[in-house]
Structures are given as C-alpha cells and as structure tokens.
C-alpha cells in the first residue's frame, strides 16, 4: 500500500459541525468496507448454514475472480483519466475467438490463449491510439469499437462454439492447482498483485497516477502522456481478454455476448472501490473490495431466493450509489 496520506495533525475541534464532517469523511473512506462487513454479518446470521460455509465462500471468490480481473484492468484506464466501455464486448469477443481458435483452427490450447490475450491487448492499444492520437473521446471510441466487435464476433460465428473444445481448456477454470483454491481465484490473485505492484511501485504506475491527476502538468514534467494512456488501455484490453477466456473455459463454450454484462459489474466495482480508503481515487485494492461487495450481494440474493430480475436492480442501484459515493468523497477531499 502506498504510504497513507497524512491526516490533519490535530484532533478536530469538539464542535457539532466538525463531528458531522469527520463522520462523513470517515464514512466516505470506510463506508464500503463497513457495508461489506455488514452484509457478511447479516447473511451469516440469517443463513448460517448456507452462507457461512467453505464451499459458499469459494463459490463467492470464484464468481468474484472474473469480475475482479476485468475490473482491475478498467481501473487502469480510470486512473489515467479515461474510460473504457469496450471491455465487456472485448471479453465476449475474445471468449468466442479463443474457442474458435481451438475448435475451428485446431490451434493448441496455450497458443490459442496467448493469441486471445494478445488480441485483447491489441484492441486496447487500438482504443488508446484512437483516444490519444486521433483524439476521439474515450466514451465514444470505446463504445464504437465494442459495438463493432459484437458484429465481427457474429460474423465469425453466429452460433455458440461448443464442440471441439479440448477438455483441458475447460479444466483450467475447474481445476484447483494451489491450496485447493479454484484456479480462477489464483489467477485473480496473481493479476491483482501484478497490477497493484505496477500501479504503486513502478515508474509507469507513478506516471499513470500523475497523468490522471493533471495531464498538462504531466506533459510538462516530461512524461510521454500518450504512451502511458495507451498502456492503460492495453492493460484493460488484456484483462478483459483474460476474463473472457476464463468465462469460456468455465462455460465450456464460446458464446456471443456472453461477457457483455461484466462491463456494468466492473464499473460498479471500480467506482465503489474509488470511494474506499482514498477520496475518490481509483485504486486496485479498492476495486477488489468493490468486486467482493457485488459478489457477496449476488450470493446473498440467490441464497434468499430473490427472483433473478432483482439482480439488475441491485447492480444498477449499486452502480449509481457507488458513483455517487465516489463523487461525494472527491468533494470532501477537495474541501478538506
């Protein structure tokens, strides 16, 4: 964790308005974590047998892992002050292509996956070039690219690719190689640690944070701003491709639009995360907390037998709430 920013030296004056302020600041920093803990406690008390079990926790973690990977890639684009609306479509598209490479083109598994991940990163680079060199607004360009990918995917295979996928590919997501944890969880941990280290401990990470803080100042500091942004987009594309690949492995098929829904989950998670610990800044550990909130929430909903259409209500609600909290946190940071 980056050295925590110094808090005001003196204790706040014992005045009512200050108390309220302090409470609000505290809530905007730790509110998400408290919310997560409250959910866990609530479900544990009300559904002890089902919720509070090793199997269920592993289930939650597995579900969270795919979202966490794609969301941490998205975190990078938000850190540099951009947006990527293509990630869900990239995940779907790559998930389809990776199965196609194995089933139709007969490529070995490792090569198919390598191609898939490179493809994702390549789409990210394309997004980055459109945003930095052509200067198309990121919302528009990534939405455009994403929509095109849907069409291209349809052209490639209008039907789900389910036959001819090697067993070993589906085993990737079903296996438990380390500590009896599902492989996607392990992959998530590796990706998150790597992204966290890059963001917080390397030149490029510091430069990404600088670019997100003040583009003009970064330029004048000698940072090659365009490269940094393209790197962020490429990372987002790579992570989306990884999530898409894992999803196909989990489903045992390549299906059109299978991962589109991850876009919203990722945004909800990242914005929840930005309202965690730091005032409205995007960061990897926050994103993980955001993902866990979503996963525990979904899990709870299904345990209590909530109808499936509750899920989008929950998801959309969380997204709005998260963005709201993030904005509030930033406002308090600005007036502090």
């Amino acid at each position: 964790m980056r050295a925590e920013v110094a808090t005001p030296k003196d204790a706040p004056l014992p005045r009512k308005s200050s108390w309220k302020r302090t409470a609000l600041i505290w809530l905007s920093r730790y509110g998400t974590i408290v919310g997560l803990l409250l959910m866990v406690v609530f479900f544990s008390i009300n559904a002890p047998g089902i919720f509070l079990s090793r199997a269920n926790f592993l289930n939650i973690l597995s579900q969270a892992s795919l979202t966490a990977i794609i969301a941490s890639g998205l975190t990078y684009t938000l850190v540099v002050g951009e947006f990527d609306l293509s990630i869900g479509y990239v995940a779907s598209f790559v998930g389809l292509i990776v199965t196609g490479l194995m089933a139709y083109e007969g490529l070995p598994i490792w090569l198919s996956i390598a191609c898939a991940l490179l493809l994702g990163a390549g789409i990210g680079v394309l997004n980055g070039l459109l945003v930095t060199k052509v200067r198309i607004n990121a919302v528009i360009s990534t939405l455009g690219i994403g929509t095109m990918l849907t069409g291209i995917g349809f052209t490639y295979s209008a039907f789900p690719i389910a036959t001819g996928i090697p067993r070993a590919f589906t085993d990737i997501s079903l296996g438990r190689l380390v500590f009896g944890l599902p492989n996607p969880v392990i992959i998530m941990v590796v990706v998150l640690v790597a992204l966290w280290v890059i963001l917080n401990k390397t030149d490029i990470g510091q430069k990404m944070q600088a670019v997100g803080s003040n583009l003009e100042a970064s330029r004048l500091s000698g940072i090659r701003v365009d490269r940094i942004k393209i790197f962020a987009f490429a990372t987002a594309g790579f992570c989306a491709a990884l999530t898409g690949t894992l999803l196909s492995s989990l489903l045992g098929s390549g299906t059109l639009a299978a991962a589109d829904g991850y876009l919203l989950d990722a945004f909800a998670a990242v914005f929840l995360g930005s309202a965690t610990l730091r005032e409205g800044e995007f960061h990897i550990s926050g994103t993980l907390i955001g993902v866990l909130i979503l996963a525990v929430g979904f899990n709870g909903l299904s345990i209590f037998g909530a109808p499936t259409h509750f899920q989008p209500i929950f998801k959309g609600g969380i997204l709005v709430l998260a963005v709201g909290m993030s904005a509030l946190a930033r406002r308090y940071a600005a007036t502090a």
């Binding site: 510091q206 330029r219 004048l220 500091s221 000698g222 940072i223």
Partner: protein
C-alpha cells in the same frame, strides 16, 4: 458593512480568528496579507460559500444569513475572483445576465429587453466592445469589465475583487483603477484584495492587513507607506534591489542556451537571445508580448515555424515536452494549479515525478524505491525551505509559495540545464517570493540557465541580472546592471517596436 468576530477553522487550524472589519459605501477598501493570512476565507464567508464558525456580518444594519450565496447576492454583494467565472462560449451579454432574471417573450428569452440594465452597466464601466462578442474572444481586461458589468447589472452595493491586476497589463490596470474610482464615487463599496502593494496604496481609501487570520493593522490612506505595509504583512523589512549584487555574466564565453530568429504564428516574430552561465535572464513586457509563447516554444509545448535553438553549443531539435525535458529544458508554468501541480498527490510525489528513473531500487528495473523517493523529496524540501507537515502530506494543503517551491524542486535533480520560470511569484506572498528568488539565484550561480518571465516589474528589478523586454513578439530592448529599474522596464515595454534601433540582444 460590519464584520464582527468572524472565525473559521479548517481541520483544527484557524484560518480566520475573530476578524473585525468595516466597509463603507463609496470607499475602496484594501485587504492585504500573505498567502494563508485568511483573505480568501474572509471573502468566501462573505460570499456565503464557506460557513463561518462564529461571528456576524451585517449589511446596513441587517444581519446576513450565513452560508447562503443567494442571500449574499440579494444583499448586494458581488464577487470577482481571480479565475473569472465566465462561460467562454457565451457572449458578454449572456454572461452578464447569467443567473439573473431575464425578460421573456412567448417563453423565449428576449435579449433586447433583458439587456437594458446590462447595457446601462456596460456604459458605466466603459465597455467599448460589442456585447455580443464571445467571451473567449475577449482579452483578460475586457473579461474583467464584463464581470464588473455583471455585478452592476445586479445593483451590487459592494464588489469584492481578488487580485484583479494579476493578469492585466499596465494600461489595462490603469483602466481598471479608473473604473474602480468611478464606481466608488457612485457609492459602490469596493473590497480590493491584492498582493501588489503599490496599487493598494494608490487606490485604496482604507487598508486592512491580515496576518494568520487576525486583523493586525488598519490604516487610512496616506497613513502607511509601502515599507510599513510590508512590515505589517510579514513582520519584518524586505530587501531593496541592489544593483551591485547583479551578476554580470562573462559574455565572451559560449552561451548555455541561445535562440535564433524564432517565429511562431503572429505571437513570436523572430526572437533571438543568448543566455550565459550564472545569470538570471528575465523577459519583461506586457501581457500578450509573446513571452509565454516563446517559453512554450523552448519547452516543446509548441513547435516554432522558423528559427533554431542551441543548448551548450549543440543544435537542439525538440519534438515535444518530453523531448525538451530529456534535453534538459524544463518549464515551471504560469498557471500553477492547472499546469503544474498534481493536486490530489503528495508533496513528495509532486517533487519526484520528473526523476523517477533515478529513484529506482535497482537500475534497469522499473521499480521505484520508496526510501530513495522519500530521501530525495525530504532533502529538497529542506533545501528550499518548503513548509509542509511532511513529504507525504497532500500538496493541495500547502500555501501558493510552498507549492511553487515544490514545483521548482521538481527540476533540481533532473539534470536541468535550462529552467524557464513563467511568473514564478504570481499569487505568492512577499516572504515566499523572497525565498523563491533566492532559490532561483542560487540555481543560476550553480550553472543552471535561468529564464524568468514576469509581468511584475518590481520582481524583475529585484531578481534579474539582465532583462530583455519584449513587445508584440519582438525583443525591443535590453537592460543590464544598474539600468534595471522599474521605470526603465515599463518605458521599454511601451516603446513602439519600430522606433527601436533593432537592438535584438
């Protein structure tokens, strides 16, 4: 207006400490003080943007509702901040009527009828440009007129102005002063906040000095001279410029940096200059003389249409900002907040951002060593006397002067050969300005090329070893040694370029 016992604290620190102030109709009231003395907080309290912890404000005997911008506006208070709150792509009239009730016709705004009051106001402030001109096409001075017109449109009885002349040229400032005197003659109270003490002394009927949130001095016009005012603000005397301390560089040696016939659009028309080792070279002149544009050309922000640069005798090709930085040319920009600082980041982050490569744990691997980063930042903080709770503190919490020092610190370990400082002490208090000047001088003597741009002639006279005056994109004069006086700089700034005998330094 009577202000009594106004108090406000942020995070346990008093920004305003029982401030009392009386502002009378028809008077120009000056408010001065170092950065962080509480001027802005006072104004924000009046404007209703900040809620004071204690104290009262009464206007014509009537208590002002706290923390309500609407109530402040109804009470006839108008505020013009340094960053003018204008909408660039609206025209002047639209901006003046922004937020004011407008006459409508069939539900559509009737600009003709709505504009009556605004036009009258425009007349009063002497607006000569058409009111349907887009604000983005207006000069800074003209924008000020729009803001004042906007205040008058609402029948403001008091107008607070924050650093109005910071980005105005000399004649523009004079024009503004005339308008201010006019307004006060018409019974409008003016609260005038400025770091430029001469202005305040000349313009204001009454001056209040704030220090550390407290009112430490009040004086009627004439009761105080500049020295006294400075003493009241910082608590001690300030040095006067001394020509004998000016450094005369050895100009027979090869210059550190030279520019030849640099041209860019219509802003820079064939500028040549040489910068020698050890000297502080300054560019004087009016706003719009092409100085900032020249700085941008040298620092790679824009590319010249013609001309060439040389650094250490070697021809220099700069593709962009990053290229300039790699070559050893750095710019400390004029807009500190928008172009210099990464406000949400720490002091250390802001200082280290241009030297990350040097701070790697293991050379060749891209990992930044937290320890090296902290050490470098702490050393530079100590060197420049940056006042901060620590290098991990957010830079947003520092005063303008200390933020500026951090921006200078950014370049001290970066292998900088030429450091360009654009308006290095804008919005910085006198004490900090002196320290910044010392730092700049030390850097110059240590062999870093220093090019300072300043519109503050006093600053030029205090700091520069040699002054080049620019006017309309050309260098129109050069001053050295004892010739560097405020009067001479101003004279040259206004001199018509055609009259000059082509002394292109």
């Amino acid at each position: 207006m009577r202000i009594r016992g106004l108090t406000k604290s942020f995070a346990g620190e008093l920004a305003l400490d029982h401030a009392d102030l009386d502002i009378e109709r028809g008077k120009v009231h000056g408010l001065v003080g170092a950065n962080g003395a509480g001027k802005s907080t006072l104004i924000r309290c009046l404007a209703g943007v900040t809620v004071p912890d204690a104290g009262s404000v009464a206007i014509a005997g009537e208590e002002l509702q706290r923390g309500s911008p609407q109530a402040s506006e109804r009470a006839g208070l108008a505020f013009i901040h340094q960053e003018l709150n204008l909408i660039p792509h609206f025209n002047a009239l639209q901006n003046m009527l922004l937020g004011a009730p407008k006459a409508t016709r069939f539900g559509m705004i009737d600009w003709q009828r709505s504009g009556v009051a605004a036009r009258a106001a425009a007349e009063r402030v002497g607006i000569r440009f058409p009111l349907d001109a887009r604000v983005s096409d207006l000069s800074v001075a003209e924008r000020w007129l729009v803001m004042i017109g906007k205040a008058l449109t609402r029948d403001a009885s008091m107008i607070a102005m924050d650093e109005p002349t910071a980005s105005l040229s000399e004649p523009e400032s004079e024009q503004l002063f005339a308008i201010i005197r006019d307004l006060s003659a018409q019974g409008v109270a003016i609260l005038y906040v400025s770091h430029r003490l001469e202005e305040v002394l000349r313009l204001c009927d009454r001056i209040t000095v704030l220090r550390d949130g407290r009112v430490v001095g009040e004086a009627e016009r004439g009761a105080l001279n500049k020295k006294g005012l400075v003493r009241a603000i910082i608590g001690h005397d300030v040095r006067t410029p001394d020509a004998s301390t000016r450094f005369a560089a050895d100009r027979s040696k090869r210059p550190i940096f030279s520019a030849r016939d640099i041209a860019w659009k219509s802003a820079v028309k064939g500028v040549s200059l040489d910068l020698y080792r050890g000297e502080v070279l300054a560019l004087g002149g009016l706003i719009g003389a092409g100085r900032t544009e020249l700085a941008h050309l040298i620092a790679g922000v824009t590319r010249p249409d013609a001309g060439r640069f040389e650094l250490d005798g070697k021809p220099l090709e700069i593709a962009d900002e990053a290229g300039a930085v790699r070559a050893g040319i750095a710019l400390v920009p004029e807009e500190r907040r928008s172009q210099g600082l990464m406000l949400q980041q720490s002091v250390g982050f802001n200082i280290n951002i241009s030297t990350l490569k040097k701070l790697r744990s293991i050379p060749g691997l891209p990992f930044v060593s937290d320890r090296k980063a902290r050490h470098q930042a702490e050393a530079l903080v100590a060197d420049l006397g940056i006042k901060t709770p620590g290098v991990a503190a957010k830079i947003a919490g520092l005063s303008g002067g200390n933020q500026q020092k951090a921006l200078i610190a950014r370049w001290l370990n970066a292998g900088t050969k030429l450091l360009i400082l654009d308006e290095p002490s804008r919005g910085v208090d006198i004490g900090a300005r002196e320290e910044i000047h010392d730092a700049i001088r030390t850097l110059a003597r240590s062999g870093v090329g220093i090019l300072v741009i300043s519109s503050d002639v006093e600053e030029l006279a205090l700091l520069a070893d040699r002054v080049l005056v620019m006017r309309e994109g050309r260098v129109t004069g050069e001053l050295t040694g004892a010739d560097i006086t405020e009067a001479r700089i101003i004279e040259l700034s206004y001199q018509d370029a055609n009259d000059e005998e082509g002394d292109d330094a």
